[in-house]
Symmetry: D3
Subunit: 133 residues, 6 copies
């Protein structure tokens, strides 16, 4: 299995509901350094998993509506704790949907899997991986 | 599959038995930066793989009996080479046992997998991954 | 010149005032991975710049009132943009004041300099360095 | 599953054929930081996935014919785009062939898998993973 | 002293003249991850060393004529070995000249120093630092 | 000022004397990832601070007598706590002495400064910097 990963980041505010979160129940924030790993059993005729420029552009397109936001105010996330792992899953769903719409072109449809990792600090990170087709 | 990873470290002394180890047959030591990756097919009602505070506390609990030790003197490791990969497996077994005892609460029992990675330098690391339930 | 550095992190929300900040004028947030570098021309009788445990504890003590906060609501920062570089300077001032009060003991008074670095992402960081005595 | 990873690097020149590559159609170059992850279900009698010295030596042996080369001039790559993902696959094939020839000794034949990752910058990397036996 | 650093990268081909360079006398290449650290004794009225967006744009502007090039063919570098340390100095001179022309606006003229670091691998990097005004 | 840095590592055992060290009074160990930064106001005729191969070889030469050792048993360190900062200073002294003996050739005598940094974990490191001529 081949894979290509590109990295970007977002800076958001949010708060959590539930005693388990302790001080993180207050409005705070995070930088998430986001890695998107695209997987494919074989290479395209150009020798690619996916074009690195197109992969980076798609990641940025999906991150932009989240960047510099207070996630507590986004209707998509009403009633949800926007934990690092939840956001990894959500970004996965959004990129998967855009690939299905053809965002990575004809060869993007040959992708087998996608793993999204969000680094929240030097000592903790979370991910979601799953198929894209 | 969702995953959450937390990082800690230990500083130990040890020596190895066997010609293949060359100068590492002498008493030397290592810092192991330890990553524990907890995996779960779905999120808890709070939106978590596992609480990051509880995960960090469990990792530290398991690392503490190893930290600042000469591993050659620990009866648990008698007759074993405490290589980086062996220790990754051993830490996996100890965390798995603690999860089975309920150390991560009710939701901890929903965990599917655990991967332990020990970084021994900027140029080498080892891991063990396996199921926890 | 000798130096010892310890690392910790905080997760905060804030917003900026001024057109130059673009989308960062909205309430957003950041993880700041914070490095505190303590400098000293010679070592203590124990062979230390400063005890690593005491240095880590002092850094955490100073970071705690900022961690999990919306900095826009802290009276200390009223009318100030809590940029990464401003916060590096502020954390420097607070640690310097605590050292002057004796927080690092007798030998802490022999420190010559302190550099605080805040990493806001994988691609940007800021720092403030200055004397502590 | 146990794994051991070692790291090395190469510095190469190359160019790509195809409009999708934009400015990378010109002769340019890259540093590839190369990670080789060796996987094995159990440990050798010495407690190893593979000896770290032998693993590092095998990685260097396979990288040497590529290091400090203009890949456009190597006959092995005629008519191929030497993309990061292609090279990950190629290095995998070469190490796999050497293991089959006994380069990692008797125990090397017990290896189950191999993952090769090439980091091309701080923000992009590619890999190939597959069985070795 | 305050400082702000931004990171970008370039991918270039080149060769060196001189026996000391061994195999690097052949045409090869490198990824240089480039850090530009801007220094200033005090902050601007907005609380900045320099705007991070403007700093990143200026770094990219200066790197673009070098990116995806065979440096051996650039007339600016005729008769020079484009070593990592030489390029750090050259990028410093180019950014300094653009600041003098006003590229970072009125407040850019208050900058005291600039340090350029080029990482050529996980195990080697070079830098040049000097005044900008 | 130009600088070139090379990285290597050692794995050692040791113990400390003094209550301030707590559990580190017991025999334990560390991996030290060691960075040696060589500084020079101008470049050599070849365009170098120092040849990267020679710098790496000199660093390894100085580290070898320490690597895989129990530092408590080395006569050079009798009665000293081999703290991270102490070792940074010691490695500085040894490299400086070798440069004075001509280990980096004629141009090595033009070096102005040297900074040695020892990373003991992902969250702590120490350094010593000073002149070499």
């Amino acid at each position: 299995m081949y894979a290509l990963t590109v990295r970007d980041h977002i800076m958001i505010a949010h708060s959590f509901v539930g005693e388990i979160f302790g001080p993180a129940q207050k409005l705070h924030g995070a930088t998430f350094v986001v890695d998107a790993e695209f997987r494919r059993p074989g290479l395209s005729p150009d020798g690619l998993v996916v074009d690195i420029g197109e992969a980076s552009a798609l990641l940025k397109e999906v991150l932009t509506p989240l960047n510099y936001q207070n996630l507590d105010e986004l209707s998509d996330f009403r009633g949800r704790n926007t934990t690092t792992e939840f956001l990894a899953g959500e970004i996965h769903r959004r990129i998967k949907a855009r690939i299905a719409e053809g965002a990575l072109g004809e060869h993007g449809r040959g992708l087998a899997g996608l793993k999204i990792t969000l680094h929240e600090s030097h000592a903790a990170w979370a991910s979601f991986e799953g198929p894209v087709a």
